[in-house]
Amino acid sequence: MTTTASMVWLIIGCALVTWLPRIIPFMFVRSVKLPDVVLKWLSFIPVCILSALVIENLLDTESKNFVTLDWPVFITFVPTLIIALVTKSLSITVVAGVIIMASVRFFM
C-alpha cells in the first residue's frame, strides 16, 4: 500500500489551508503600513498565544463533564515554571520538564 489519488488531494487541500494563513500576512504587510493601534494589538499576541498554548495543556476537557486541571501535567508545570524563572534557559527547562514529567507519570 502506498497511497491513493483521493488521499493525495486531501493532503494537498490541508496543505493549502495551512499555508495561506502563514503567508498572507507576510505578503500583505509589505505594501500596507499597519496603524499604530494594530501594532500595539500585535505586541500583546506573543504573551497571549504562548500562555494559551501552556494553559491548553493544563486543562483536562475530556475525562469529566466539567473542565478540571490535568493533574500530572499541572504537577510538572509548577517546578518547570520555577526552573524556567531561575535558569532563563530554554534547553535546561525542556530537559528538566521532560525528566519531571517522566517521574510524575512513573509515580502516579
Binding site: T2, M7, L10, P25, M27, K40, C48, L59, A84, V94
Partner: protein, 243 residues
C-alpha cells in the same frame, strides 16, 4: 565620526544575521520536534497511513497538532470537507503569528517573505519573537537558519517514527510530550523577562485573563479554537487597558 558608528554596528549585524546562529537558536526546540515527530510517525502508521502519506503530510502540512487531528479524523472516516475545514481552523493561529512577525521583515523581497511564512510554526514563532524582544530586530538569514533546521528535524523525526513504530509506542511514558509545553513555558518567561518593569503587572493581569478565558471557552469550543479566541480577546483587552 561616522566610521566609529560603522565599526560599532557592523559586527553586531554580521553575527545577528547569520544562518548558523539561526541553526544554534533552534537547538533548544529540537527535543520537542524530535519527540513529537516520532510520536506522529507512530500514530500515523497506527492510523493506517503509509510511509508515503506520512511523508507527504509532514512535508506539505508541517504542523504537529493538525497532523495528529488529521489521523484522528481519518479514523472516524470524517468527510473530506470536514477534515479540511478542521485543519484550517486548527492552524488559523498561524495567521496571528505571521501577522506579528511580518512587520519585522518588510525590507526583504516578497519571495523571501513567503519563505519565512511557509515555514512558520508555534516553536519558530516563539523563538523569533523572543529574539526580537531581546535584540529589537530580526534578520532574514537567521530566520532561514531557524526555520530550515526545524523543518528538517521535523521531517526526519516523523519518518523515523513511522519506521520505528513499535519501539516508541508510548512516548508519553517518557515525558516526551511535555517537551513542547516546557518550551512554551520557558519562552513565556523569557518574553516576560524582556518587558519593562512598569509593564510586567499589566502582562500578568493579561495572563490572568487568559486563564479565565481559556477555562470558560473550553466548555463551549474545542481547545484549538479556545486558543485562537482567547488570544484575540485578551490582546484586545491589552490594548484597551494599556496606559
Amino acid at each position: 565620526m561616522t566610521s566609529t558608528t560603522d565599526l560599532h554596528n557592523e559586527p553586531t549585524t554580521a553575527s545577528e544575521d547569520s544562518f548558523i546562529q539561526g541553526v544554534k537558536d533552534c537547538v533548544p526546540t529540537l527535543l520537542g520536534y524530535i519527540s513529537i515527530g516520532l510520536a506522529f510517525g507512530v500514530v500515523g502508521s497506527a492510523s493506517g497511513l503509509s510511509l508515503v502519506e506520512i511523508a507527504l503530510l509532514t512535508i506539505l502540512v508541517y504542523a504537529g497538532s493538525a497532523q495528529f487531528i488529521f489521523c484522528a479524523l481519518l479514523l472516524t472516516s470524517s468527510p473530506t470537507s470536514a477534515i479540511i475545514v478542521t485543519i484550517f481552523v486548527v492552524n488559523l493561529r498561524h495567521l496571528l503569528m505571521s501577522l506579528t512577525l511580518a512587520p519585522h521583515f518588510t525590507r526583504y523581497s516578497m519571495l523571501r517573505n513567503v519563505g519565512f511564512g511557509t515555514l512558520l510554526t508555534d516553536e519558530t514563532f516563539g523563538v523569533a519573537v523572543t529574539k526580537q524582544m531581546q535584540n529589537g530586530k530580526l534578520y532574514g538569514r537567521w530566520m532561514d537558519g531557524l526555520n530550515i533546521t526545524a523543518y528538517a528535524f521535523w521531517i526526519l523525526s516523523c519518518i523515523a517514527g513511522a519506521f520505528l513504530g513499535q519501539w516508541v509506542a508510548n512516548p508519553e511514558k517518557w515525558g516526551l510530550d511535555f517537551a513542547l509545553i516546557a518550551m512554551f513555558i520557558a519562552l513565556l518567561v523569557l518574553q516576560l523577562g524582556s518587558v519593562g518593569k512598569h509593564k510586567i503587572m499589566h502582562y500578568l493581569m493579561l495572563i490572568g485573563y487568559m486563564v479565565v478565558m481559556m477555562y470558560g471557552l473550553s466548555y463551549v469550543v474545542p481547545s484549538h479554537l479556545a486558543v485562537l479566541l482567547a488570544t484575540v480577546i485578551v490582546a484586545t483587552i491589552g490594548v484597551v487597558t494599556d496606559k
